[in-house]
């Protein structure tokens, strides 16, 4: 018996240590809108380095996340692609009160994988000469709705409607255009520029923000993240200068 005591003590001490380490460096699971994938990966890496907390990221469509969250998904923080879904969760009491804030404002671009197709004024939309124009589903994706608003503001929607191909989200709208199956696509600026804001390839027209209502992307701490230090830390980090620099670098407004 006497020989066992030191072992048990050591075991207890180890457990205590592990426990306290876990309390200091915690994990937070985050549901992230697909268009924010690249910046969030970068922010999460910095967040882990700076705070010791680890952000476990899941990427997907905002509507799907809503359904999953309502049905018990273990997410603690939610970065949506719009402001309506977080507002809805807030109204339904699914979030930590007062935790909702806008983390980024998306910018819409008309883009082609080919150079010299899209001009600086978006005139190509009226000139034609293309079979397909890809957009995200306007019913589901804020970027899709903004694309439709833009075409309507230009008075070109009726002429363009037969050429529209709808993707389920902005990631797929990009894929349709990137593979060349659609010569043109309305996509997110963040998808076609690198982290310094330089166009990665092809040609684009940054749609003037006055042509569509702002694409506000809101984040919330979900009910499951209540009282969790890592969740609060991540939300605070997202509003800090370092994260905001990354977000701006990828072409979002703030």
């Amino acid at each position: 018996m006497r020989a066992r005591f030191p072992f048990r003590t050591a075991l207890a001490a180890a457990c205590l240590l592990a426990g306290s380490a876990a309390a200091l460096a915690d994990e937070v699971s985050v549901a992230v809108a697909a268009n924010f994938t690249a910046p969030m990966q970068k922010i999460a890496a910095q967040f882990e380095k700076d705070t010791g907390h680890k952000a476990v990221l899941s990427f997907g469509a905002t509507g799907k996340f809503y359904a999953q969250i309502k049905n018990g998904a273990p997410f603690e923080v939610f970065l949506a692609a719009d402001d309506e879904t977080p507002a809805r969760l807030e109204k339904e009491g699914g979030i930590v009160a007062g935790s909702r804030f806008t983390y980024a404002i998306g910018k819409l671009v008309l883009w082609s994988a080919k150079p010299a197709i899209v001009d600086g004024q978006g005139e190509v939309l009226k000139k034609g000469g293309f079979d397909h124009l890809s957009i995200a589903n306007p019913k589901l994706a804020p970027y899709g709705a903004a694309a439709v608003e833009t075409m309507k503001a230009l008075g070109a929607y009726d002429a363009l409607a037969p050429k529209l191909v709808q993707a389920e989200n902005i990631g797929q709208a990009y894929q349709f255009a990137a593979s060349g199956n659609a010569l043109l696509g309305f996509v997110a600026l963040a998808q076609v520029v690198d982290e310094t804001g330089k166009l990665k390839g092809g040609s684009m027209w940054v749609v003037p923000p006055k042509l569509y209502s702002p694409i506000r992307q809101d984040a919330v701490i979900l009910a499951k993240g209540q009282g969790k230090a890592a969740a609060a830390a991540l939300v605070k980090y997202l509003q800090g200068d370092k994260a905001r620099a990354v977000i701006r670098g990828y072409g979002y407004d703030l």
Partner: protein
């Protein structure tokens, strides 16, 4: 609340797609299945594996490669353009091509099994009665393989109705052209229109159950008789 006009359009399109796909698959799949059932060739294993690939590949992989291959920079896309057919993605013919590939194993495998089950004796008997190979195929093989054709038709049709990932990747969600029921359900769920989603999704469950029930009931009857 019941089905909206959009829902009906999706249902009609889905049935058209499944019927066309099944017809094409029976035409193309029968010779392939016959060859697989009879050949002593070493290529049999390779062809069999290729035919079964869609069983294990995630549909999004299949859809993604089709999008790339059939696009303007892909081999398939350049071929269809050279033939004056234009590009296949975002069109009904494109969906048929994708669905044929996606449902191939569900048609070829039952046919192959049916052909193998016939064995060589009826063929030899027909040959001794001086039936030509073609004659034998149509008057001996086809009637004997009928249960296999029934299974292949039902599975090919039902599997195409249930297709989602491939269509999602190359369809472009165009009403009355590429927006099938499964995509419509997905849209309803994403748009939080759960009541409409339930109608379509529930209909899909009932349809699938009835199809499989018919299949298994006909099998049970056959094995009872036979």
């Amino acid at each position: 609340m019941t089905f909206s006009p959009d829902d009906w359009a999706a249902i009609r399109l889905t049935l058209e797609l499944a019927a066309t796909t099944t017809a094409v698959l029976l035409l193309l799949g029968t010779p392939v299945a016959w060859w697989l059932a009879r050949t002593p060739s070493r290529l049999k294993a390779v062809v069999g594996a290729v035919v079964s690939l869609p069983l294990v590949l995630p549909p999004t992989v299949l859809g993604f490669y089709l999008l790339v291959l059939l696009g303007p920079n892909g081999v398939g896309g350049q071929l269809t353009q050279a033939l004056g057919l234009g590009l296949l993605p975002f069109s009904f013919p494109g969906l048929v091509v994708a669905s044929v590939l996606y449902s191939t194993p569900f048609v070829v495998q039952p046919l192959q099994q049916a052909f193998e089950a016939i064995g060589t004796r009826p063929l030899e008997a027909a040959a001794t009665l001086r039936a030509s190979p073609r004659d034998t195929f149509f008057t001996v093989v086809l009637p004997l393989a009928r249960p296999g054709f029934v299974t292949a038709t039902i599975l090919g049709f039902a599997h195409t109705v249930g297709e989602f990932g491939v269509v999602l990747m190359i369809g472009g969600n165009i009403p009355e052209k590429t927006r099938v029921v499964s995509v419509q359900i997905y849209d309803h769920v994403e748009a939080l229109e759960y009541a409409q989603a339930h109608w379509l999704a529930g209909g899909m469950v009932v349809f699938s159950f009835l199809v499989l029930l018919a299949l298994y009931a006909s099998k049970a009857r056959r094995s009872y008789v036979g």
